[in-house]
Amino acid sequence: MDFSFTDEQSMLRDTVASYLADNYAFDARRAAIKSEAGWRPEVWKAFAEELGILGAPFSEELGGLGGGPVDNMVVMEEFGKALVVEPYMGTVVIGGGFLKHSGHAAAPDLIEKVIAGDAIFAFAYAEPQARYTWQDLKTTATKDGTGYVINGQKSVVIGAPWATHLIVTARTGGGQRDAQGVSVFLVDKNAKGVTTRDYPTVDGQRASEVTFENVSVGVEALIGAEGHGLPLVEKVMDEAIAATCAEACGVLRRLQEGTVEYTRTRKQFGVPISSFQVLQHRMVDMFIQLEQSISMTYMATIRLSEEAHERAQAISAAKVQIGKACRFVGQNAVQLHGGMAITDEMAIGHYFKRATMIEGVFGSTDHHLARYEALSFGKAA
């Protein structure tokens, strides 16, 4: 058993942290998310060329840094601290995950493009009726000669406005909610029949409603085996959840530390409000939530390599902890900052917004509690 980071991982953390300190201050981020593009392609270019971090979780054989889930965790935690919006999650964690695990013929080429910053992915999985049931799909991919024709609508595809490619879940067989019949496709965003409606999200990201109307793709667009895509989706999704937990730890740390700092400087009744025990104990409870979240993120990240059942149970347990912590720490950070926290000019509220969205990302607390129960107690229970 070992909870230490390798020298490479510590260096990775320092590299990311120091770049973000110089280039990702609150005001710079605020200007970027309000700009028309909503992000800074030059930051992405720096991630690829200056920092080389887009290759963090890929093997050296593929041109990466030779890391894995722990390296994603390190990067995402730092991103959480700075509220980075650039699409590392969609591109490196999710896109990279699908490419690595599927053994797709074009994977080496595409991963090379990812590492160079030239390929950007967005994961189009959610549908209006499906909530958090990944296999609930109305989107269909119908066999057409050697290829497929895709039809359907995808909701809130994070990062889609910036993407070069979409990774799409679609049904090639079975009923709307069946586990069988799920397939995964890689679609060029400029393909004929793909239309997007782009918009900002409440936490400063960009997303799209994506419609597929008779989109023709070749057989090479299929990632993994036709009709048997669900286990692959669940695996990549679990990796994405672990990375989200890591991001949350960064966000929670800023909320907790920022609150401690603020209460030490804010004076009422002639004294810093940090001297009040009722506030001290609240901040201790926030700190405990943060510590428990870090523990669960380590646990979940390490267990990503286990069998599907153990992996899923660990991931859902972590997401439950993270979801509860995001709500408790976020709401109390605002409460202890007072009215200032709900102004747009103060950073704390922006961390609160991201924390709140993380509660629902890839499944709400209730969703993951139910998933955990099914895995821990068995279907009979």
Binding site: M1, S4, I288, M296, Q321, L369, A381
Partner: protein
């Protein structure tokens, strides 16, 4: 970063598992199974087996009898003990007093007291709390005045009252916090004394708790004569010892392995007990959710403890972070007791203690769950209440 157990760790697990299976005292097991009250010898039976094996105090420095186990081995050891449902080695000597002696004591004191603690020959009790000094421990009033007797030796004459002295009815010796200087700020006038419980002037009176048990006591000290050489560390610097002791007390308090075992038992109960809708209680939507949330919180605590242990292994002692383990550990123990009582339904009510250990009404798992619940309320109160732990984190960790 990994959770792998090395082949050496796996072999170690096998070794300790076999050792426990082959050496755990059979009549102690029988008494535990029947719920019979344990005697002084029962409490010490397992301790003595471990002492003989050399495993009674894994965390002590090697020179005094520690095992030099890695954090992983210590983790395995506590897991295997919980799995086999062994009784815990009493903490008073081994985990509370001994670290104070080997950290602050003289060579003479180490030689005199550590072997008795290790072998279980001397039963220690704790004289900290007083009727007027609970959370505000430093306000204690038990007074020790230094006098020179006719034999030419110096003594402390101790007067006062201590309370909540756990298993003090069996104790041979006690470690006491006493006031040696009433005129300075409270923390600066306290000394740490070791007192022979057979000394004239000591009276131990039982306190009976809600579940009918006699675990805790009042201890009265009336002109008790204590040789000056029984003081640990400098006069008026006992608070330093007291704080160090409390940090050690807190780190063991998480009780992760025992709670995991408790959770298994709860799940067994909830598989047998029926829900209102028929079918096992564990299929009840609301009960199931409470168990799931408890299980997840326990996992979080387990990994927080593992992170703390990993930090300790790189040279840091248990710090103020161990207050987190105390808070979360005791909350989880109490939630387990709460859910066990809920699960027992009607059969939480029968109170069988005075009917003798063969009494049996309702399912055997229901016997004692109410008592455990009532007795278990102590855990968030003792060892520095959970509110005091929050004060400690606020001050020492958050710098407030």
């Amino acid at each position: 970063m990994n959770l792998d157990f090395s082949p050496e760790d796996a072999a170690f697990r096998e070794e300790v598992r076999t050792f426990i299976a082959e050496n755990y005292p059979k009549d102690l097991r029988a008494k535990q199974d029947s719920g019979e009250q344990l005697s002084k010898d029962d409490y010490l039976a397992w301790h003595k087996v471990l002492a003989k094996k050399g495993w009674v105090a894994p965390s002590w420095p090697k020179e005094f009898g520690g095992t030099d186990w890695t954090p992983t081995q210590k983790y395995i050891w506590s897991e295997e003990q919980a799995r086999a449902d062994t009784i815990a080695v009493l903490p008073f000597g081994v985990s509370m007093l001994a670290p104070v002696i080997y950290t602050f004591g003289t060579e003479e004191q180490k030689k005199t007291f550590l072997p008795g603690i290790y072998n279980g020959e001397v039963w220690w009790c704790q004289g900290y709390s007083e009727p007027g000094a609970g959370s505000d421990l430093a306000s204690l009033k038990t007074k020790a005045e230094r006098v020179k007797e006719d034999d030419g030796k110096e003594y402390y004459i101790v007067n006062g009252q201590k309370t909540w002295t756990t298993l003090g009815q069996f104790a041979d010796w006690g470690f006491f916090l006493v006031k040696t200087d009433p005129d300075v700020k409270p923390q600066a006038g306290i000394s740490f004394l070791l007192i022979d419980m057979k000394s004239p002037g000591i009276e131990v009176r039982p306190i009976i708790t809600l579940e009918g048990g006699h675990e805790v006591n009042d201890v009265f000290l009336d002109n008790v004569k204590v040789p000056v050489e029984n003081r640990i560390f400098h006069e008026n610097q006992g608070w330093t010892c007291a704080k160090a002791l409390l940090a050690h007390e807190r780190s063991g308090i998480a009780g992760v392995a025992r709670s995991k075992r408790g959770l298994e038992r709860l799940r067994e109960m909830a598989t047998t007990e029926m829900s209102d809708l028929g079918g096992p209680l564990l299929t009840d939507t609301f009960f199931k959710r409470k168990v799931a949330e408890l299980e997840i919180d326990l996992t979080a605590l387990e990994f927080t403890e593992l992170r703390t242990l990993a930090g300790e292994s790189s040279g840091k002692g248990p710090g103020p972070e161990s207050s987190i383990l105390k808070i979360k550990g005791t909350e989880i123990q109490q939630r387990l007791q709460e859910l066990a009582l809920e699960a027992a339904g009607h059969y939480g009510a029968p109170f069988l203690r005075d009917l003798g250990h063969n009494a049996n009404i309702g399912p055997s798992y229901a016997d004692g769950v109410a008592g455990d619940y009532f007795n278990g309320r102590k855990t968030s109160i003792y060892g520095g209440s959970n509110e005091i732990q929050r004060n400690i984190i606020a001050k020492m960790v958050l710098g407030l």
